[in-house]
Assembly symmetry: C2
Homo-oligomer: 328 residues x 2
DNA sequence: CTGAAAGCGCTTACAG
DNA sequence: CTGAAAGCGCTTACAG
């Protein structure tokens, strides 16, 4: 790959002129421009991004930190981000934390060193140390999925969605409703969805047995286990269960099937996620669609707006949609 | 962020010495090293990767070009790549082609400009123009999923897997076997799997009606449509169908269900993919597991080996495994 | 063991 | 309209 110096020599101009022609900045005579373009075409020359970055401090790269690439949620978000970024000539530098919170912090530093123009963080926690690190950043950052005080974020309305879901169950005649959640350190998925469940039950003056509330992690098996504990240890069996993710719901269903309980006749199931698989379970899962691509799109737009020196919203709350199918 | 110059001043040494201390190259007195380390700790200094890249021509970034991030296959491969790369301090620069072949070429150029240390390409075609571009690359490249003459590649044994699958169907007593494939331009998925089907049928002296061979794209709906065409237009209805991907198979199943045909009693179904969803369809899908993470892991290892000046295998053929469930 | 100097490939005031 | 020069933040022979 030739350098700007060689291009300049071949076109019989100075490097400055080549640079101006390249960036359409300042004056370049028609004549010079023609010669330069010809040489560039001939050689297939493309300027080095690193040299550019060193001078201009802009890299046209956005760092994306995510807990795992292996879920539909993440890949949809990344697809959304990529869609708007690619359009503007930006690329994504990927940082996969494998759900390791330490790494979430480490990668912020690493991306800083790589001098990315901005960072999008699909967050799983809201620890103060993380918040502080993000606030100290001199490059724009947008958080997806969790809410921070001082950081622009794209959030799903977890609380309202949770209440809607439980309220829907109640409207269908259910009074005994179980809950399968996750660790409440996960503010969005763990805490808010559980709080919504509790509040809606209380508002509707429905009581809740302790055993109706179970906790799993983000996989199918733990949903199975949670359902098992719930069914085996409850005095009154719930007639409906709200699982906070589709995978948990699928695990719950598979346990119910195993012990001969029919969905939705004996136990109704509802969840949040709208994963592709949710429409092919039997029965098809009633679930909430969170528009994950939108989250990615919005996040990328926010970053770009910031880089463009436009104002940036502190917080964007995304829409959701209850998809009614056959599990309730 | 301070620069090496400021660190040098604060530690009362030259930039050269700081650099040597940083990279553990050449001699640095204990005394100087101590002072430098102290200053670095104080300031949180980290050297600029761009400046480094400009000098050393190494970026510690590997470009990954993929057709879409939104499939399990891709995200598993990326997870595999990331796993070994992250370990060695490398990061992934993502290039998503959205199945656009033009972009596959464009991104190779783009990544070249970004001076990535290597490229991993999850390929969907084997066009000569692509091959030539890859051969001309001065950085190491590994292709996953397709086979090129001169380029190191990681391939699945599509032909053998296809034959195994059809042979399994035959061993179960099926004689009339349909096929749902994709565009044969996709050498691996389109051409080889179809050829395997044809060859196995011929070897076993089984005849094939034209209408038994249908083509879809990579989604569920087109599997549905393909099954519809097959069932509606065939003189003899196949008693088994080989769909080249899980999604196609799921589409096929949903059409069969719609017209009241039972799986596997009336029509058996088998496919390739082993996606997570395949175990939760009803009945659970008999399918082939291709070990996608392994493909990513191997590819990353190959790139690293090359960068380490070790020899690199021209071609690695991955293992597969038939998962027998209830759709046959 | 250490530092001065050159150079990686660009961009950007500045002078003409 | 154009070019010489400086500088971005590093590393690396080289001389001492």
């Amino acid at each position: 790959m030739p350098t700007i110096k060689e291009i300049a020599e071949m076109a019989n101009v100075s490097r400055s002129t080549v640079s101006r022609a390249l960036n359409n900045s300042g004056y370049v005579s028609e004549d010079a421009r023609k010669r330069i373009e010809k040489v560039i075409k001939q050689t297939g020359y493309v300027p080095s991004e690193h040299a550019k970055a060193l001078r201009t401090k802009k890299t046209k790269v956005i760092g994306v930190i995510l807990p795992t690439i292996q879920t539909e949620t993440s890949s949809k978000v990344v697809a959304g981000i990529d869609q708007v970024l690619a359009n503007q000539g930006y690329q994504i530098l990927l940082a996969n934390t494998h759900l390791d919170r330490e790494k979430e912090m480490e990668y912020v530093d690493l991306l800083k060193v790589r001098q990315v123009d901005g960072i999008i963080l699909i967050a799983t926690n809201t620890e103060d140390s993380l918040a502080k690190k993000l606030e100290e950043l001199t490059i724009p950052v947008v958080v997806i999925g969790q809410e921070f005080e001082q950081i622009p974020s794209i959030v799903y309305d977890n609380y309202q969605a949770g209440r809607d879901v439980v309220s829907y169950l109640i409207s269908k005649g259910h009074r005994q409703i179980g809950f399968v959640g996750v660790d409440e350190k996960d503010q969005a998925v763990g805490y808010l969805r559980k709080q919504a469940y509790l509040d809606e039950m209380e508002t509707q003056q429905l009581s809740v047995e302790d055993t109706w509330i179970q906790r799993g992690v983000f996989d199918i098996d733990s949903g199975y286990d949670a359902a098992k504990r719930m069914i085996q240890h409850s005095n009154q069996r719930p007639t409906a269960i709200f699982a906070v993710t589709d995978r948990l719901a699928i695990g719950v269903m598979s346990y119910l099937k195993e012990v001969g309980l029919q969905v939705p006749k004996d136990v109704a199931i509802i969840s949040i996620g709208a994963s592709e698989i949710s429409q092919y379970t039997v029965p098809a899962l009633t679930t909430v669609d969170y528009h994950n691509e939108q989250a990615g799109i919005k996040a990328a737009e926010q970053i770009l707006a910031y880089l463009d020196a436009k104002k940036i919203s502190k917080k964007i709350t995304l829409d959701y949609r209850l998809i009614i199918r056959n599990s309730v």
